[in-house]
């Protein structure tokens, strides 16, 4: 699809303009052919059955966007970026290195900017309940992404069943709270601990596996947990789920209308938004904790050992590193954060059922980690924003959501094969590397 236009870019600009327009026209025609049936025709149900309505205006907009975009790419973008593509591999690497240098500098500004935005969001005028709900959702996935990043991005252990730990966390809180009346703040560490234990339980049998084999076993593990939750009716209430899960309190203050409530204590009028804002800051704090711990661990010997393990397990063993303990700590740490996120999910929803912990969730979190660039913290944030935010944006075009989603993944993998932020470029694959430069490993070969 991205087959270059005319090669005469450096030649006469008039010629390149003409070629560009022709090229854009072709693209627009293709867009028309695709958009006409998909966007232009729409079925509506009438009393007598289905009827067709047409939306040619929308088709025209889509075609115009494609035409303008293609023309802009041809005239403005490709002339500058094309030469690097055609050059020798060495030049390409240099160009890429420069790119990533630039990206790193941008990232330095991006992270604090995003953080300030996240903290200030509830105070901004457009932050209504809907925006905050999306914010909470995005932050939950950021936290899950960061948690999974420890296992997949740092330690290089491909885990397709991460949702299991999310489920363990959620059910731990839900069961402890509804049966024993324990408060959220007591259950949170317990849920993290229990999830970490399950991380160890998963970790032991898969110690000797890697790559594809590990992926399959973790996938199965995720399903086992879900199916147990579904069928252990006495404990989990099966497919009916657990409802009336207690909401978290603010240092013992409930978010309700009553005497001892949050609003009454601070002498402000009651608003149901208080709880939403509180939940928002709660998940923000939890996510930041995950990030902080990951960044700290990375500088400690155990974090370096994780990265070394991802690079070369045999070399690790030859250096006296206990690979068993290293893998298990990675599984347990990642699982613990999944458990935290799960108990947050339970307290926020007030209701959980096995429905919420399907494989698609694991896939989504893994996609966030991979698209963000394995091992990159800020990449996870961007990917989560794009994917979860994108899901919400396209909510009205429900039918096209997966289409757009898939398309976005293909685009990212074409343009940035190692994820959006690939500057640290760890890979989850282990293979003979010999003297291959690090920049050229890991893309296209995985």
């Amino acid at each position: 699809m991205a087959a270059g236009p005319a090669p005469a870019l450096a030649a006469a600009p008039a010629h390149s303009l003409r070629a560009g327009i022709i090229d854009a026209l072709i693209a627009a025609f293709i867009a028309l052919a695709i958009a006409a049936p998909i966007i232009g025709l729409r079925t509506v149900s009438l009393e007598g059955g289905l009827a067709l309505t047409t939306r040619w205006g929308a088709v025209a907009i889509a075609v115009a966007v494609v035409f303008a975009g293609r023309l802009a790419l041809t005239l403005l973008w490709w002339p500058r970026h094309k030469p690097a593509r055609r050059d020798s591999a060495g030049r390409r690497l240099l160009a890429r290195a420069r790119d990533s240098g630039l990206a790193e500098r941008a990232m330095l500004l991006l992270a604090p900017a995003l953080l300030i935005f996240a903290i200030a969001l509830p105070a901004t005028p457009f932050a209504d309940r809907y925006v905050l709900d999306i914010g909470i959702l995005v932050l939950t996935y950021i936290m899950l992404g960061w948690g999974l990043n420890i296992v997949v991005g740092l330690a290089g252990l491909l885990d397709l069943g991460y949702v299991a730990f999310y489920a363990v966390g959620a059910y731990s809180y839900a069961l402890l709270a509804t049966h024993f009346g324990l408060s959220f703040w007591i259950c949170l560490p317990l849920a993290g601990f229990l999830a970490a234990m399950w991380g160890l339980i998963l970790g032991f049998p898969v110690l000797r596996l890697r790559g594809d084999y590990l992926a399959i076993v973790t996938l199965a593990f995720g399903e086992i947990i879900r199916i147990v939750l579904l069928n252990w009716y006495d404990l989990t209430n099966g497919p009916d789920g657990i409802s009336r899960i207690p909401r978290p309190s603010f240092f013992g203050l409930e978010f309700d209308r009553g005497e001892g409530g949050f609003a009454a204590f601070f002498g402000i009028g009651y608003s149901s938004d208080h709880r939403i804002v509180f939940l928002y800051y709660l998940i923000l704090a939890l996510a930041l904790l995950t990030n902080f711990v990951t960044l700290r661990l990375r500088r400690l010997p155990v974090g370096r050992a994780w990265e070394a393990l991802r690079e070369d397990e045999i070399a690790c063993r030859s250096l006296g590193i206990n690979t068993t303990a290293t893998k298990l700590t990675a599984f347990a740490t990642g699982a613990m954060f999944g458990g935290f996120a799960g108990s947050f999910f339970a307290t926020r929803q007030g209701f959980i059922s096995p429905e919420s912990f399907v494989f698609l969730e694991s896939a989504l979190v893994l996609a966030i980690v991979v698209l963000g660039g394995l091992g990159s913290q800020i990449g996870v944030v961007i990917a989560a924003l794009v994917m979860i935010g994108g899901f919400e944006l396209f909510r009205e075009f429900e039918q096209y959501r997966m289409l757009v989603f898939g398309f976005a993944i293909v685009l990212i993998m074409v343009w940035r094969p190692r994820g959006i932020i690939a500057s640290r470029t760890p890979s989850i694959f282990l293979k003979e590397r010999k003297s291959i430069g690090a920049e050229s490993v890991g893309e296209g070969r995985g």
Binding site: E311, A315, G320, I321, N322, T323, P426, K434, I436
Partner: protein
């Protein structure tokens, strides 16, 4: 101290049903360089891996510094004063040279790290220049130096080298071997190396062992082995050296 630093007695190792080592006896004395040579598939690397505990010896005994390490877990063996530069170098390609060296020191307390680093950089000045670079961007010879340097960071008493000349240009091989000789002479480090490059290995080593089909076939000083007709015919004809 009595007895050799490393003592291998009657070691037999299997890969499944296939016997790779058939009762190997071998000693490495304190302060020596010992070379193990042999053809492809003779079991040289298997012996080295067996010393490290992976795979395990099915029978026989391996003693390091008087204590039996035959059944110890690999990571414990590698913490007891043995370090290895594995076959194929196996540096961490996406970690910087510095991080690679830090990994080498992972099992020690980090108090000596700065001193050890200086010592290593004095020995391999190139690594200092490259310390911020990723391991994977180094040339083959530089990677081998890094692999040896990384092994040295754990302050070993015995250094195991598995095919340090593998895939390197002759001039680089000479540099690497000169560095090994220096380590032995100046710092008294005991070295046990496995090599296909028999000529260089035997020139370097005080003593050598020749392995054929999973058992030791000959032993002697490096010079003795080099002078033997059968050794020359089997391992040196064909343009080594």
């Amino acid at each position: 101290m009595t007895g050799p630093l490393l003592q291998v007695r009657g070691v037999e190792t299997y890969y499944g049903k296939i016997q790779a080592l058939r009762g190997v006896d071998l000693d490495v004395e304190n302060g020596e360089i010992v070379a193990l040579i042999g053809a492809n598939g003779a079991g040289k690397s298997t012996l080295m891996m067996t010393i490290c505990g992976s795979p395990r010896a099915r029978s026989g005994a391996i003693r390091f510094d008087g204590s039996d390490i035959t059944a110890a877990p690999t990571h414990q063996i590698m913490r007891s004063g043995i370090a290895q530069a594995p076959e194929g170098r196996r540096i961490f390609p996406r970690m910087s040279v510095m991080e690679n060296l830090q990994m080498g020191a992972a099992v020690t307390d980090m108090t000596h790290f700065a001193d050890d680093l200086e010592r290593i950089f004095a020995m391999f000045p190139l690594l200092r220049k490259r310390s911020g670079q990723r391991g994977g961007t180094l040339s083959g010879g530089e990677q081998q130096m890094l692999a040896i340097a990384r092994a040295l960071m754990s302050r070993p008493r015995l250094l195991l080298l598995d095919e340090p000349s593998l895939g390197l240009a002759p001039i680089i091989v000479r540099q690497i071997f000169a560095a090994i000789r220096d380590l032995n002479r100046k710092q008294g480090l005991t070295v046990f190396l496995v090599e296909q490059n028999a000529y260089h290995a035997l020139k370097l080593a005080h003593r050598g062992y020749v392995m054929v089909n999973g058992a030791i076939a000959m032993t002697g000083t490096g010079a003795e082995l080099l002078a033997r007709e059968d050794v020359r015919a089997a391992y040196l004809e064909g343009g080594h050296g």
